[in-house]
Amino acid sequence: MNTNNQTKAIYTILAWTISGLIFFPILWTAITSFKTEAEAISSSPSLFMFEWTLENYSDVLARSPYFEHFWNSIVISVGSSLVGLLIAIPAAWSMAFVQTKRTKNLLMWMLSTKMLPPVGVLIPIYLLFRDTGLLDTKLGLVIVMTLINLPIMVWMLYTYFKEIPHEILEAARMDGASIKDEIFHVLLPIALPGIASTMLLNVILAWNEAFWTLILTAANAAPLTAFIASYSSPEGLFYAKLSAASVMAIVPILILGWFSQKQLVRGLSFGAVK
C-alpha cells in the first residue's frame, strides 16, 4: 500500500510539473495582463507580488474596437458552423445509412480536399473576392470557413451517425413513418449530441483559423486572429497590453474547448480513436 502511494506521489509530482510547464505560457500571459508595462518587462519578474491593475484591459478597449472583432469572430465561426451543418448532415446521414461500395472512397476523397494547400487556391479566391466585393466581408469568410471545414464536419457526423442502430429506423418505418418523420422525430433527437459536438469543434477551428482570416480581411470583417496580429508591429514596451488583448482573444474559446475535450479527440481523429 505504502509503495503504491509512493509511486502515485512521484507520478503526480512529475505530471503536475510537466503540465505546469506546458500551461505556463498561458498563465504567464494572464498574469502579465494585470501588470504595468514597466513591471511586465522588469528583469526580476514576479509571479504574484506586484501591483495588480486593470488598466491594460481598459487601454486595449479604448485603443481598438475589440468588441467589433469579437463579434466578427462569433459571426464567422458560428455562422460557418451552422451553414456547414446544414450541408453536412444530409450527406453524413446518407453515407451512414445507405452504405454503398463507393462510400468509403467518397469519404476519402472528401478528406483529400483538406489536403489541398490553401496557397494553391489563394490567388483565384483573392481575385474572385475582390471582384465580387466579398473581400473584407463576414459573408466571404463564412463561405470560406464553411468550405474548408465541410470535410471534417461530414466525417465527424458520419462516425456518430454510423453508431445509431439501423433497427430504430426500421422500426419507425414499420410504424409508417415517412422519411421526413424519420429524420426529424427519430434520427435528430438521437444524433443531437453528435451534432452538438461537431458544431463545437468547428466553432473552435474557425475561431482559430489564421490563414484566410488574415489574408481576406482588412478593417471591417477582421476577427480576433487579425486583431491580435496587428500587435506584431510595434516592438518593445507593450507586453502588458499584448497580454490583455491575448487573454480577451483566447478565453472564450479556451472555456468552450475545455468543455468539449472528449468530442475533440473523436472529431479530429476522424473516428480512428474513441
Binding site: I26, L111, M115, P117, V273
Partner: protein
C-alpha cells in the same frame, strides 16, 4: 436493404456537399493553373501574355524555393517528431494513477485552443525576446549570454512554438488510445514475465500505431500550411531562413503582386501536397476504418 427510393434520396442528400467541395476544389485550381502560364502582375497591367512554363522555370530555379522547400520539410518533420515523442511520453504519464488528473488534463490541453497569432506573439515577445523575454532574464540570472532566438535560430524557434501548440492534440489522442488498451493482455504479459520495456514494445506500440497514424495525418494537413506563426514572428526572415512554401507563395502573390509566379508556386505546392497525400492516404487506408 435500402429501397430504390431511399437510394435516390441518399444521392440527393450527398449532392450539396459533393458538388460544393468539387467546385471549391476544381474552379480555383483551374484558375491557378491558367494564371500560372501567364505573364500577369497586378502592378503592371498588360496583355497578360501566355508565356508557357516560364513561371515554373523561375519559381523552381529560385534559390528561395529550394530553401523554403527544405524549411517546410524540417518544420513538418520537426514538429511531428517532437509532438509524437512528447505526446507518447505525456500520454503514458497521464495514464498512471495520479492525484488531480482532470486538472492536469485541462492544463495540458490548453495550448491547443490558443489561436496561432496569440501563441506566436506571446512566445516571440514574452519568452524569446533577447532583451525583455523571460528566457533572456533567466539566462542573465544564471550568468550566460541570452540567445536572440529569431535572429540565430528562426526556424527552430518557430518549430518550438508550433510544437507547443500541437503537443496537446497528440497527447490527448494518444492518451485516449492508451486508455482503450486491453488491461488483461498487459496482465497476462506480466504473468508471463514480460518487463515494462517489452510490454511497451510488443503491446503498447502496436496498439498505438492507429492513433499515431491519425496524429501524423491531421498534423501534416495543418503543418504543411503554417502561415500565421511565420507572419507575426519573422516574416520569413532573416533572408529566407524561416520561409516555408506557403509563406513564399504568399509574398510572391500578395506582396509582390506577381500573379503568374505565385500561381506557378501554388501549383507546385499542390503537387507536393499530393505526393504527401498519396503516401498518407495509403497509410490511413490501412489503419483507419479497419
Amino acid at each position: 436493404m435500402a429501397t430504390t427510393h431511399s437510394r435516390t434520396l441518399a444521392k440527393l442528400m450527398l449532392l450539396p456537399s459533393v458538388s460544393l467541395l468539387l467546385i471549391w476544389m476544381i474552379v480555383p485550381l483551374c484558375m491557378t493553373l491558367y494564371f500560372s502560364f501567364l505573364d500577369y502582375n497586378l502592378l503592371m497591367p498588360g496583355d497578360n501574355a501566355f508565356i508557357g512554363l516560364m513561371n515554373y522555370e523561375f519559381f523552381l530555379t529560385d534559390p528561395a524555393f529550394i530553401e523554403s522547400f527544405f524549411n517546410t520539410l524540417l518544420l513538418v518533420l520537426g514538429v511531428l517528431f517532437i509532438t509524437i515523442g512528447g505526446g507518447i511520453g505525456l500520454a503514458i504519464l497521464l495514464d498512471q494513477a495520479i492525484w488531480g488528473r482532470n486538472y492536469v488534463r485541462i492544463m495540458v490541453l490548453a495550448p491547443f485552443f490558443v489561436m496561432p497569432t496569440v501563441s506566436a506573439l506571446v512566445w516571440k515577445n514574452m519568452f524569446m525576446n533577447p532583451v525583455n523575454g523571460l528566457f533572456a532574464h533567466f539566462a542573465e540570472f544564471i550568468g550566460v549570454t541570452p540567445v536572440d532566438f529569431f535572429a540565430e535560430m528562426p526556424l527552430l524557434s518557430i518549430i518550438i512554438i508550433v510544437s507547443w501548440q500541437w503537443l496537446p492534440f497528440a497527447a490527448l489522442i494518444l492518451l485516449t488510445a492508451i486508455q482503450s488498451l486491453d488491461r488483461e493482455q498487459l496482465e497476462a504479459a506480466e504473468l508471463d514475465g514480460a518487463g515494462p520495456f517489452s510490454k511497451f514494445i510488443y503491446i503498447v506500440v502496436p496498439h498505438l500505431s492507429r492513433a499515431v497514424t491519425a496524429v501524423i495525418l491531421i498534423e501534416t494537413i495543418f503543418l504543411l500550411s503554417i502561415f500565421a506563426e511565420i507572419l507575426v514572428t519573422t516574416s520569413g526572415g532573416p533572408g529566407y531562413a524561416s520561409t516555408n512554401i506557403t509563406y513564399l507563395i504568399y509574398t510572391q502573390s500578395l506582396l509582390q503582386f506577381d500573379v503568374g509566379g505565385g500561381s506557378a508556386g501554388g501549383i507546385v505546392a499542390v503537387i507536393i501536397a499530393n505526393i504527401v497525400a498519396i503516401f498518407l492516404m495509403r497509410l490511413i487506408g490501412k489503419n483507419l476504418e479497419g
